[in-house]
Structure formats: structure tokens, C-alpha cells
């Protein structure tokens, strides 16, 4: 699951910023291209793609700082709700 999540997150981010090379632990906020608009898009993407609702106390910059951090966030939310899952993974296998 976490490899799928990483791949889907990477695909989404690189789709928005095709020129970047991004390691899983790289701080995306330090790259200088993240603005509030993209942050909101990230929140929406994660909630839709992984069928989770991110609670307010998890909405903090550190949880969106890297692909690793977002993957851990998704895993935490899915463990809270075992019925949650990746809709994209379900379609693509």
C-alpha cells in the first residue's frame, strides 16, 4: 500500500511540476514552488485518491512536507478507518 501511495503522490506532484526531481524524503516546501493553492490541491487529492478525511489536528505543514510524511499521514488515517483505501489503486490494481 505505501509503495502505491508514494507512486500516486509522486505522480500528482510531478504532474503539477514536471521539471522537479523529488526524493521521497525531500522537503517540498523548501523547493520554493508550493503555495497555498497547491497545498489545498494536495489536501483534496489525498482525501479523494485515498478515501480519507484528514482531521483538523492532522492538517499541519509537517504532514505534507515530503512524500514520506504524506504516506505516513495516509496510513494513519486508513488505520483509523479500515474501510478507507486508494480508489486509484483499486482501479489500476
Amino acid at each position: 500500500m505505501s509503495d502505491n501511495a508514494r507512486a500516486e503522490l509522486r505522480q500528482f506532484i510531478v504532474g503539477k511540476f514536471p521539471k522537479i526531481e523529488l526524493a521521497d524524503d525531500q522537503d517540498i516546501f523548501a523547493l520554493g514552488f508550493v503555495n497555498s493553492l497547491f497545498a489545498m490541491e494536495l489536501v483534496m487529492f489525498i482525501e479523494k485518491a485515498f478515501s480519507v478525511r484528514i482531521p483538523n489536528d492532522e492538517l499541519k505543514l509537517d504532514n505534507f512536507r515530503s512524500i514520506d510524511a504524506m504516506t505516513e499521514l495516509i496510513a494513519r488515517q486508513q488505520s483509523e478507518d479500515p474501510l478507507a483505501g486508494s480508489s486509484i489503486s483499486a482501479v489500476t490494481g
Binding site: 497555498s36 489545498m40 490541491e41 489536501v43 483534496m44 482525501e47 492538517l59 499541519k60 505543514l61 505534507f64
Partner: protein
């Protein structure tokens, strides 16, 4: 009640458009009209039925705002800000906040306003927040000033953005909280009936339950989400202005002659009306695409809404300007709606992200598409 675009059109034609000049001149909307808006279920129809909404999809909400915008941008502006607050409480509120506020917001018994812009900073420069919320026991103390607050004169509930340490947070502030002062801002150029105000917060004590959404990260969540909803409403309202300019121009040129020839047969005027029809159709398609993406919870809706608002607002200023030109001196008088449309349309290019901000942002789409 499930409000429909058709019902809204009848309401606008009967109760709103015929009085819009008076609303504009007196710089207010009658309380009886605001009650009718509530009776029709227009304040926040997207809210779930459990709290008094009708679960209306966003494509339809956009059509409702287009109809209202066709009749009176002052009223549409009120729906915009109230919708932003209602959406935010529904999306980011705790169970307790939802239970307290959503039924009131759905009915319009409580009118919500969006408080972001400040006197000493550009509305687009939300990082320059001077308003602060300092921790105070388990609650907060709010200090600062907000300006250009649509509906501020009749606000019951204020959604206020304030700096909380390094980040910004959102607070729900009742109008009757001690330390809240509302000062009307009269003689605005456009949307004059939307009862704009400046609001000062002096040592306003708030409980812990006033915090809406995450602490310190409103910029990436509540603020951007609410502005997206507001921008969509403004885009759809701008489409309504184009439609109103088109209808007024078609009627005028079909009835009035110059040099023994109906104006409708003048090639230069036909060209202006052709441009209005084309701009109207394009704006409608862009608004409906943005609404459909919202209904699908697709993050692409954010950029689609920027594009819809950019096109529709600039189309509105062009259509309203051409409508005044078509009407000649009549177009400059209060006897025809086009002068008001002209003043209102300019506001659409400024609020919820200026034209210049959209021009700065939308170009990114091209660079993504060609992977540069």
C-alpha cells in the same frame, strides 16, 4: 425546499431586478428580501438536508448565483460571502460547531461574512495579516481591523483570519461579542447594496471553540478553500452580468432607431452583441466545468475556477462597457440598468483574486502541459 434555477429566475424577475436600481441607490437590501432568499432556500443550498440545506450540487448552485447576479450583484455578493462561511463550517467545523451554526446558516437566520482583507494590505496579500489572536487561557484574544467586508453591516457571524504565531488561523466571531465594532463604508462604486463595512476587533475574548479548522495553517486549508467557493460564485455572478448586459442591449437595439434604421441593423452594434453572446456561452461552459469538478471533489476545480472567474469577470466588464456604449447617453443614466452593470462589473475583476493575480497564476497550466 429544493430551489431550482427556474424558480430563482422567476424570483429575480419579480422581486430583484425591478428593484435593483433602488437597492443600489439606497445602498441596502431590504430585510424582507433577505427573508425571501431564506424562504426559497437560497442562502446555502449545498448544505446537507440534515441541517436545513438541500444538498444541491455545485453546477446547480452556480446556476442559482448566475440568476441572482443577472438581477443584482449586491445580493449575489451577499450569497457569496454567506456561502463561503457556510461551506467552511461544514467542511472544517467540529461536530459542535456544525450543530451550533449550520442550521442557522442554512436558513439565513444567522448571516455569515468573510473577514480577510485589511486596511493596510492588499486583499491579495493575505500574508500581511495584521490581525492577531493571542492565546488566553484555553481561548483567544482577538485584535485587529478588517476592511471591505461584504455584508459586514448586517453580519451575525464573522469568519475572521488572524495571525496565531508563525501561521494564520480562522475564528468564528459572533457580532455581539464584546469589542466588535462595525463601521459602514458607504458610496462604493459597485455592488453598493452589499452593505460593506470595516470591522474592528478590540480585545475580543473568544473561547477555544471559536477556532475553525487547523491552528496555524488556514492559508493551505480554510482560506484557500473558502476563496475557491467565493471565486466560483463571483464567476457565476459575472456570467449573470454578461447575460443582463446582453438582454438590455438586445431589447434597446430592437426598439430604438437612428437615421431611419433600427439599431439592431447597425453592423457595429451587432458586432458588440455577437461578442456578448460568445463571451456568455464561453463563461457558462467554464463555470459549469468548474462546478462539475467541485461535485467530483477533483482538485483540478481550483485552477478551473480561477480560469472561469478570469474569463467571466473580464467578459462582464467588456459586455457592460459595450452595453453602455450601445445605449449612448441613456446608458449613463439611472433609467437603464447598464450603468449599474458597468460599475458592478469592475468590482468582479477585483474581488476573490484580481485579474492581475489570475494572469500571474493561470500561465502555470501551459508550462505543466508542455512539461517545462
Amino acid at each position: 425546499m429544493n430551489v431550482t434555477p427556474e424558480l430563482t429566475r422567476e424570483f429575480v424577475d419579480a422581486e430583484v431586478a425591478p428593484c435593483a436600481e433602488e437597492f443600489d441607490r439606497t445602498e441596502q437590501l431590504p430585510g424582507s428580501l433577505l427573508k425571501q432568499v431564506g424562504s426559497l432556500g437560497l442562502w446555502a443550498p449545498f448544505l446537507p438536508s440534515e441541517v436545513g440545506g438541500s444538498g444541491t450540487d455545485y453546477v446547480t448552485v452556480g446556476r442559482l448565483h448566475t440568476e441572482i447576479g443577472r438581477g443584482c450583484s449586491g445580493l449575489r455578493s451577499m450569497l457569496t460571502v454567506h456561502g463561503m462561511v457556510s461551506w467552511s463550517v461544514n467542511r472544517w467545523g467540529t461536530d459542535e460547531q456544525k450543530a451550533q451554526w449550520l442550521p442557522e446558516l442554512a436558513s439565513g437566520n444567522t448571516f455569515g461574512v468573510f473577514c480577510l482583507s485589511e486596511p493596510d494590505s492588499s486583499g491579495s496579500d493575505s500574508k500581511a495579516e495584521g490581525t492577531t489572536a493571542e492565546p488566553d487561557g484555553e481561548g483567544w484574544v482577538l485584535n485587529g481591523r478588517k476592511k471591505w467586508i461584504t455584508g459586514g453591516q448586517v453580519a451575525d457571524l464573522m469568519m475572521v483570519f488572524a495571525r496565531t504565531g508563525p501561521g494564520m488561523s480562522t475564528f468564528l466571531v459572533p457580532r455581539n461579542a464584546a469589542g466588535v465594532e462595525v463601521t459602514p463604508l458607504p458610496r462604493m462604486m459597485g455592488t453598493a447594496a452589499s452593505m460593506i463595512a470595516e470591522i474592528t476587533f478590540t480585545d475580543v475574548k473568544l473561547g477555544a471553540d471559536a477556532l475553525l479548522g487547523p491552528r496555524g495553517w488556514a492559508a493551505g486549508t480554510v482560506m484557500t478553500g473558502a476563496l475557491d467557493i467565493g471565486r466560483y460564485s463571483v464567476a457565476c455572478g459575472s456570467l449573470g452580468i454578461v447575460q443582463a448586459a446582453l438582454e438590455a442591449s438586445a431589447r434597446y437595439t430592437a426598439e430604438r432607431s437612428a437615421g431611419g434604421k433600427l439599431l439592431r441593423d447597425q453592423p457595429q452594434l451587432r458586432a458588440k452583441i455577437s461578442d456578448m453572446v460568445t463571451a456568455r456561452d464561453a463563461a457558462r461552459l467554464l463555470c459549469e466545468r468548474a462546478g462539475a469538478l467541485k461535485d467530483a471533489d477533483d482538485p483540478e476545480t481550483i485552477m478551473a475556477t480561477w480560469i472561469a472567474k478570469y474569463h467571466a469577470s473580464t467578459a462582464a466588464t467588456k459586455a457592460a462597457s459595450d452595453a453602455v456604449q450601445i445605449h449612448g447617453a441613456n446608458g449613463c443614466s439611472p433609467d437603464h440598468p447598464v450603468a449599474r452593470l458597468y460599475r458592478d462589473s469592475k468590482v468582479m475583476e477585483i474581488i476573490e483574486g484580481s485579474t492581475e493575480l489570475q494572469q500571474l497564476t493561470i500561465a502555470d497550466v501551459a508550462y505543466r502541459e508542455v512539461a517545462l
